[in-house]
Symmetry: C2
Subunit: 328 residues, 2 copies
Amino acid sequence: MTRVLQFGLGPIGCATARLVAERTGLQLVAGVDVDPAKVGRDLGEVAGMARVGVPVVATLEEALAREPADAALHTTSSYFPLFREQAEGLLKAGLDVVSTSEELSFPWHDNAEEADALHKIAVQTGRTILGTGVNPGFLMDSLPLFLTALSQTVERISIRRVINASKRRGPFQAKIGSGLTPEAFMERMEAGRMGHVGLPESIAMIFDTLGQTLSRYESSVEPVIASALTETEHFSVQPGMVKGLHQTASGFTADGELVSLTFIASLDSEEDTDTITISGRPNLEVTLKGTNGDLATVAIAVNSIRRVVDAPPGLMTMRDLPIVSWSP
Amino acid sequence: MTRVLQFGLGPIGCATARLVAERTGLQLVAGVDVDPAKVGRDLGEVAGMARVGVPVVATLEEALAREPADAALHTTSSYFPLFREQAEGLLKAGLDVVSTSEELSFPWHDNAEEADALHKIAVQTGRTILGTGVNPGFLMDSLPLFLTALSQTVERISIRRVINASKRRGPFQAKIGSGLTPEAFMERMEAGRMGHVGLPESIAMIFDTLGQTLSRYESSVEPVIASALTETEHFSVQPGMVKGLHQTASGFTADGELVSLTFIASLDSEEDTDTITISGRPNLEVTLKGTNGDLATVAIAVNSIRRVVDAPPGLMTMRDLPIVSWSP
C-alpha cells in the first residue's frame, strides 16, 4: 500500500485524488493547495467525492506533520520556473514524485541545468521524480518510441493529434484560446504561457532516445477560427473569433526532418483521433481513438506511481522506466 | 559497440544477422548453426549479404574460441525443452541473450520451474536473457499493457491480429497448415508444435502485470479452408484444403473474461491489421498497420540488444525493461 499525498487540487489534481481513492494499492492520505477557498475543507469534498476525514492544508509541512506519505502526485504548473521549488521540496521531504508538469516530461533539452539540479537532489534524497501525462509523456514520445521497436530502419516519425475540445474541461478550452479575437490570440501566444506545452519536450525525448542530434527545431501556432456560433458549457464563441489552435513542431537532424508533430485542439472539431506514422522498414501506421487528454493524463499519472516507487533514485522520464500499466 | 554472436541461422537468424551488420552500434562477430550445409561457409554468404570473413561454426565453443562476444541473438526453437540447454550455455559463456523463442517471452506460467532455473543461472553468471518478438513480446502483451497506462479502469482487453500469410516466408506458411487436408491439420494440431506459439505467454504476461489471477484459460484452433486455388511462392493450395488458421485464446479472472486474443493467419487473407481494444474508462481502440511479423520480429530482437546489455542480471521479459526502441 503506497500512501499518496495530492499536491495541487485544480481540476486535474482533484481527478487524480479521486482515482487514487478508488485504487486498492494506493491510499490517499493528504491534499495540499494554496487556494484559501479549499484550505480547511475536507479533501474528499474538495476533490468531488465522499468525505475522507482529512482537511486540505496549505503547505507540505502541515500535511506531513499530520500524516506520513510515500509518494506525491504533483499537479500544479506546466512550467519549470513555477514548479521547481515545489518539486525540490517534495523530494527533500522524502517523497517519490509523479508530476503532470509538461516541462518535466523530458527537461534535458530546454531546461537542462534545472533538470541536472533536480536530478542531483533526487539522487541525494534517494527518491525518484517523473514527469508524465498523455501528451507530453506518452502519445507523442514514449508510445511512438516503443513502436519503433518494430522498426529495422526509421526515416521519419509523424504524429498528429486531433482533439475535440468541446468535451474538455474549462481551463483546457481557455488554454487553446477559445473566445479570443485572432489578434488577442496571437498576442497571448507571443507573450507565452498559452497553448499546448510539451512539443519541444516530446521531440527532445525522441531524438535523445534514438541517438540523434537535434540540429534544428521549428514550431508554429495558428488560431482556428469559428465560422459559426460555437457553444460549450464554458464558452460561447461568435463567428470570426477563436475556437482553438493548430500547433506544429518539427525536429531536424543534419539530414532533414526526422520528427513532425501536429496538435489540433478546437471546439466542435472532427472526432478525437491520434495518428502515428513511422516511415522506414517497415512502414507503420497506428491510429488511436479514445485517448481523452483529461481522463488519460489522470490515469497515467496515477498508474505511474508504482513504477516510480520501484525505480532507482533520480529524475526519470517515461523512456527510462519499465512500461507503465494499469493496476487495481 | 556491442559484439553480437548469431546463434541459429534459419530465415529469422539470417535476417537478424543482416540487420546487426547494418547497425553502427553493433558488430556481427560470429554465427553458429548445426546445419552441415552452413558450417564452414562465410557467415555473410549464409545470411544473404556480403562476405564478412568469418565462417559459420557448429558450436558456441568454437565461435568464442575464435572471437569474443558480448551478446547473443538466439533464434532457434519456439519450445522451452528444445532451447533450454542452448540458453543456459549462452549465459554460462558470459553472454547477454536476446531470444526469439516464443515460450521464453513470459515463461512464468507454463514453464515456471524451467524459468526459475534459467533466471537463477542468469543471476549467477551476471547476465541477462530476454525473450522477445512481435508476437509474443509486443502486439498482444507489452504494447497493450503500455496502452493501459491511459486507463483509469480496465474491464476487458481484446486483441485481434490478422496476417496475410501470402507475403510471409515459407516456414511460416507451413506452420499455419498451408496445403494440408483439414483432417491432417487437426491431427497435427493435436500432436502439438504447429500453429502460432505464444498466446498463453501473452495472456500470462497481461494477467501478471495487471495483478490479476488467471482462474481459467481457454483456447481454440480451426483451419481456414481455401475456396479457390491459392498459390504462393511456396505452396499451391487446392480448394477444400487448408490455407491457414484461426486461433483464439481467452483468459478469465473469477469475475469473467478479461483478455481475448484472436490470431488469424491465412494465405490470400484480408489486409494485415492489428486491433487492440481496451474497454473501461476510457474506451480505447488502437489499430496498427504494417506490423509484418518477419520484419518486426527481426527488428525488435535486434533493437532489444542494448536494453539487455544495460539490464540487471536475470530472466527478463518485455514488461520488465525500459521501452525498447530503434537505434542506429
